[in-house]
């Protein structure tokens, strides 16, 4: 598991209130129960605070699953 993915794991467990949730790069709204629009807002906000980054509005479309999320987070952290 990448460092970014391991830091995302507790965020997902907290947002979805599921201490047994295990995310994978392919995890998306069809495989994670409760991943609706409000949960997505909670996720994005929590990720921004955890990693100290800010997403642009258009970048949200690049985050269709956990793998795309980690890729974008890594790019934004590297660009700081």
């Amino acid at each position: 598991m990448s460092d970014t993915l391991s830091r995302l794991q507790p965020i997902f467990r907290d947002v979805f209130d599921d201490p047994t949730l295990d995310i994978l790069p392919g995890s998306d709204s069809s495989t994670v129960l409760g991943w609706d629009s409000l949960a997505h807002i909670n996720l994005v906000s929590a990720i921004e605070q955890e990693f100290g980054i800010h997403f642009a509005l258009g970048e949200l479309e690049e985050m269709r699953n956990v793998g795309e999320m980690t890729d974008l987070i890594d790019r934004k952290c590297a660009a700081r």
Binding site: L38, I41, N42, S45, E48, A56
Partner: protein, 140 residues
């Protein structure tokens, strides 16, 4: 009523107001919630529990977080999305409460405002503290 729009908001922006806790509020909340626990209305029971008078309902005092968000910060365009509250100490009828909130985080991508808020008595005792998540109406 304040009407902050997204571009008006910044980390550190703070609003507060005061409200006196009265018997009528307690009676109204009891009627609404049907929470008849004696701690909130029975003086002798409250004394036996170590309180000088019946304890105000925690969710009555935290209702003022709703007013903080909907009227003061951000006000008119607010959409309350979530709130985590810790009840720190009791409040009693007659207390003058100061309700305050401060913008701690802004997410442009999802238009999310996060507030750190608290309620203190006029003596400075913290009654509760909260982390509040707020969105804004489209166009605000």
């Amino acid at each position: 009523m304040k009407d902050y729009r997204w571009e008006d908001l910044q980390v550190g922006l703070r609003e507060q107001f005061e409200v006196g806790l009265c018997e009528e509020m307690m009676a109204t909340f009891l009627r609404l919630s049907q929470d008849s626990n004696p701690l909130h209305h029975d003086l002798s029971f409250a004394h036996a529990c170590g309180h000088p008078s019946p304890v105000a309902f925690g969710l009555l005092t935290s209702a003022f977080y709703s007013r903080l968000v909907g009227v003061h910060l951000p006000g008119k365009y607010a959409l309350l999305q979530g709130i985590d509250i810790d009840f720190v100490s009791p409040a009693y009828v007659g207390d003058l409460l100061c309700v305050s909130g401060e913008v701690r985080f802004l997410s442009e991508a999802v238009r999310r405002v996060e507030l750190k808020a608290e309620i203190r008595t006029s003596q400075g005792r913290q009654v509760s503290r909260a982390r509040i998540r707020v969105g804004l109406h489209h166009g605000a």
